[in-house]
């Protein structure tokens, strides 16, 4: 693989619209899901089915926060989900979409 020039990973902002990176595939598992990036060959584990729903539906919602709410993430769990999404943004698994 030749290294592709990497643009700096965007910081996750829950108010912005997000989407799964087009080269990332998700495989549901009982604990949540595996996410694989075909470009970076990076593998991530999503440790809950709810997080999988959030990630799958990001592009249907005007913001990351809206996707979390629609998937039923309770307020008290929001910080943990936002940290998870920030990790996924940081590793290029999700990316900001042009609204």
């Amino acid at each position: 693989m030749t290294t592709t020039t990497t643009t700096p990973a965007p910081v996750y902002d829950p108010a912005r619209p997000w989407a799964l990176h087009p080269r990332v595939a998700l495989r549901p598992e009982s604990f949540g899901a595996l996410a694989y990036h075909f470009g970076t060959r990076r593998l991530s584990f999503l440790k809950s089915r709810t997080l999988l729903s959030v990630v799958e539906s990001l592009s249907d919602h005007p913001s990351g926060l809206a996707a979390c709410r629609a998937a039923g993430v309770p307020d008290e769990a929001l910080p943990a989900y936002e940290r998870a999404l920030a990790t996924l943004a940081d590793t290029g698994m999700i990316c900001e979409r042009v609204a």
Binding site: M1, S30, R42, K47, A80, T87, M93
Partner: protein
């Protein structure tokens, strides 16, 4: 690998031990044919097996991998590039969303091949080298194999392939060369990968004299902790976790749970280090194909059930090392529910001493080109060159290897 996780109160490793719908790491050996005859070959390769999967069967298997969402496969052998349909299969896999990393001794990495590889995002290469000098390497991999691998690295670097893997099996004779391996990888823009010597395949014949000594294991662990950042290990040194901190990785035996091996004739084994009928789960040619073997075979079902810690149950480090490597125990004649032969607390050595008349199982089948030699002169004439998660959000340094 990265964990992206709200805190759901369970350890991922525990889930992995119960098995997944599809493997995370699948090794697929395409052929038993090889132009080398490395003394520690895990698959006792040499001669092609006439029953090897046809091109059509290989493609059907790739279709199955795609349906199961096996995102990438580690192709090996033998020397996989010897197969005349090798590139056809690589292209077929990547066209079907199955990424490929293949292991090679470098003998077929021509300039044209290097260019082709550099142009693909979906194919990764892993070059095997077991000494940072020709003397140490060639004693294990054969005369001229060091020069061959270096030429391949030169070609890959010249073609602009960045980040291919330089894969080293750590032995008694090269453990002092870790810095030199790292320098070699750096010189060619490669990433170093270190793995454990297993007593599997022909490795069973040479393990006694090639496996690192207890002191060397400690040296290796300290090196990995201090300088092992960005060094891949295929999670193979988890038995060293009992020294203290776990090394990056899942730190579990993934055999039949998240890992398996498909051999050239379609036999599915629990892991690449366990080519023996005892660990044979089925064959991809059987009814239901690979999917049925992975999801329903008796062996894999059993491996996914709670395992007994046996003699290790009372050890305070069991949670760290999980009893070590099943294959290493099996092929040294130790009970599977006891210590690893390289247990860092020395319990393995004691167990080996107490084996008495127990005869270690012989690896099977054997595709060696020549009858295997039981004793091999492996010591280089001169001394080797010495210069030479579980938090809500866990980010670990692991990559898909």
């Amino acid at each position: 690998m990265t964990l992206a996780a709200p805190d759901t109160g369970f350890r991922l490793v525990d889930r992995f031990e119960q098995g997944l719908d599809a493997p995370i790491c699948l090794t697929w050996e395409l052929t038993y044919a090889c132009n080398l005859a490395c003394v520690h070959c895990l698959s006792s390769s040499g001669r092609r097996d006439p029953r090897e999967l046809s091109t059509g069967e290989c493609k059907a298997l790739i279709d199955e991998f795609e349906r199961m969402q096996i995102f990438y496969v580690n192709i090996g052998g033998g020397e996989p590039t010897i197969r005349s349909d090798f590139w056809e299969l690589v292209d077929y896999a990547t066209d079907h969303h199955v990424g490929v990393k293949f292991s090679t001794n470098g003998s077929r990495i021509t300039e044209a091949v290097a260019d082709r590889l550099a142009a693909s995002d979906y194919v990764d290469v892993q070059l095997s080298l077991d000494g940072a000098t020709a003397e140490v390497n060639d004693a294990v991999r054969g005369e001229g194999s060091f020069a061959t691998a270096v030429t391949a690295m030169e070609r890959l670097a010249a073609a602009g392939f960045v980040g291919f893997k330089l894969s080293v099996v750590v032995t008694r004779h090269n453990v002092g060369q870790l810095d030199a391996f790292r320098a070699l990888a750096d010189r060619y823009g490669a990433q170093l990968r270190l793995t454990r010597l297993r007593p599997a395949g022909r490795g069973a014949d040479v393990w006694d004299e090639l496996h690192p000594t207890a002191d060397q294991q400690r040296e290796l662990y300290d090196w990995l902790v201090a300088r092992g950042e960005d060094v891949l290990t295929g999670d193979s040194f988890f038995h060293l976790a009992a020294y203290g901190d776990a090394l990056p990785g899942l730190n579990l035996c993934g055999a039949g749970r998240v890992v398996c091996l498909v051999d050239p004739v379609g036999d599915v084994y629990a892991c690449p280090f366990a080519i023996h009928r005892e660990f044979l789960a089925g064959n991809v040619r059987g009814p239901g194909g690979f999917t049925a073997v992975w999801r329903g075979s008796e062996l894999f079902t059993e491996l996914r059930s709670p395992q007994s810690a046996g003699a290790c149950a009372s050890c305070g480090h069991y949670d760290a090392c999980r009893g070590g490597c099943m294959a290493a125990k099996f092929f040294t004649g130790l009970p599977l529910d006891g210590p690893d032969p390289e247990c860092v607390l020395g319990h393995g050595e004691q167990a080996l001493g107490a084996r008495g008349a127990v005869v270690a199982p012989r690896p099977s089948p054997d595709h060696s080109a020549r009858p295997r030699r039981v004793a091999v002169a492996l010591t280089p004439t001169h001394r080797p060159d010495r210069r030479c998660d579980e938090r809500p959000l866990a980010g670990s340094a692991l990559r898909a290897e």
